[in-house]
């Protein structure tokens, strides 16, 4: 009985978040495309920053939340933290993909190349690869408890690695600055141009929360199916 009540509450929360996110995104898109002028150096393409930067924020927030959830799983051995960690990581990986895609489109227009081996790009790519490995690992393990334990360890190792990668690539590229990068520093944000980034971040976070909730529900259902299957085979 309590299960159905909490299901209902969860549905309600999801609808509220969805409406909030939709309203924010509509307003932001209107503002970004209809009100804000083109940027003086970059022209129209600069608008991609409103997708790009909030995705970075959302993605990295997610990876750190996943680290915390993984640590909590290892401490408590409660599978709900594992489901949370898995859901958050997958959603963050999706946002990381958006970051890479939007970044590359922007780079093609402004730099003339799809990819530059700059500090931030490389960090993001390594990050993406590490968490892709995490998702692959989860698929390779059938037993839920073992999967939770091993993927939590990978999450911890991965998050530490990203911090090391970030620090070390910063040093690397500050020693040999690539000339293409000056464009990035050259374009400052005009007045009123910055706030939509933060509003979009909020919208993306709402969206991420909905996706995480859906994913967690799937995760708990698949765990249930797994245990039913085991029971069917065992008895």
């Amino acid at each position: 009985m309590s299960e159905t009540v909490s299901e209902k509450t969860r549905d309600r929360i999801m609808y509220v978040l969805a409406m909030l996110s939709a309203a924010l995104l509509t307003w932001n898109l209107y503002k970004i495309f209809m009100i804000l002028p083109d940027e003086k150096n970059q022209g129209a393409i600069y608008r991609i920053v409103y997708m790009h930067v909030p995705s970075i924020f959302t993605g990295f927030t997610g990876f750190f939340v996943a680290l915390a959830a993984s640590a909590l799983y290892l401490i408590t051995k409660d599978l709900k933290y594992d489901a949370f960690a898995a859901a958050v990581t997958e959603v963050s990986l999706a946002f990381a993909s958006i970051v890479l895609a939007t970044g590359m489109i922007w780079g093609r227009i402004i730099w003339g190349i799809w990819w530059a081996w700059d500090a931030r790009l490389t960090t993001m790519l390594v990050c993406w690869l590490i968490y892709f490995g995490y998702v692959m690992l989860r698929r390779a393990i059938d037993e839920p408890t073992q999967r939770a334990r091993l993927s939590a360890v990978v999450s911890v190792f991965g998050c530490v690695d990203i911090m090391i990668v970030y620090k070390s690539i910063e040093w690397w590229r500050t020693q040999h600055p690539a000339p293409v990068l000056s464009v990035r520093d050259g374009g400052g944000m005009g007045p009123g141009m910055e706030s939509p980034i933060y509003w979009n971040w909020l919208a993306f976070m709402c969206l991420a929360a909905i996706l995480v909730m859906v994913r967690m529900r799937q995760e708990s259902i698949s765990r249930e199916i797994d245990s039913l299957r085991r029971m069917a085979h065992a008895y």
Partner: protein
């Protein structure tokens, strides 16, 4: 369930399984297992495939952690290092290295158990299991029976207080069975505790002082071995099992 065992003492039980459950995801492989085994008992752990015998033995051996509950050997947590020296485990695999010789294998484990004069101890056990003539032969070249005898020597080289065995008689040849039976008789005579899971009801029941029947991850029956169990091996399942 408490077994009186061969000897009654006031010291903590040789093995105390207290409310052990093990979940794989939501699937309960073991549910609230409670067994106290007095020192000197020989317990036969019976049950069908998939009932949870191996899972329980793995937890007792410290190879896997219970989701709930605790396992104590002589009053100590099983994953504590000192406790592990008190148990010997003979699992499904022979747990010796194919590329190493019989003597090298046993010496390594003698060293891991911090036994004094590891090599002498290894030689002693090779003699005991009738492998002294092939002590420098690589395990890879051994016959099946020789490998199994070496596995027995490896598992009990540190003369543990508690002997855990998973299906010990399955797939053994006659000579290995004889070695194992001698060893178990010795161990029982010197007051050691033996826990074995098995399908071979007759062999197990002849040795056992107590019987635990596990079904669907729960204890279906636990108690002293009776004569009717030995006389009619189907009796136990008919009486306490669901079929």
């Amino acid at each position: 369930m408490t077994f009186p065992g061969a000897r009654s003492t006031t010291s903590p039980p040789a093995l105390d399984i207290d409310g052990v459950s093990k979940y794989y995801g939501h699937f309960p492989a073991l549910r609230d297992i409670r067994i106290k085994v007095a020192a000197g008992s020989t317990v036969a752990l019976l049950g069908r495939n998939g009932a949870g015998k191996t899972t329980l033995l793995k937890i007792i051996a410290g190879l896997s952690k219970p989701s709930q509950g605790s396992v104590r050997i002589g009053g100590q947590e099983v994953r504590e290092q000192a406790t592990r020296a008190r148990i010997g485990v003979l699992g499904h695999g022979i747990s010796v290295y194919d590329e190493l010789s019989a003597l090298e294998n046993l010496t390594i484990f003698a060293k891991l158990y911090s036994l004094p004069e590891p090599e002498r101890r290894a030689l002693e056990w090779l003699e005991r299991t009738g492998l002294d003539r092939v002590r420098d032969g690589l395990v890879r070249e051994f016959s099946r029976g020789m490998r199994q005898r070496l596995a027995v020597a490896r598992a009990f080289i540190h003369e543990p207080e508690v002997l855990l065995m998973d299906e010990p008689f399955t797939a053994l040849d006659d000579r290995a069975i004889a070695v194992l039976q001698d060893l178990l008789a010795d161990a029982h005579a010197s007051g050691r505790t033996i826990i074995m899971s098995t399908h071979q009801l007759r062999e197990a029941l002849e040795l056992a002082t107590d019987v635990v029947l596990i079904q669907r991850g729960q204890i279906a029956h636990a108690g002293p071995r009776t004569q009717e169990m030995v006389d009619d091996t189907g009796w136990l399942y008919r009486t306490y099992g669901e079929d």
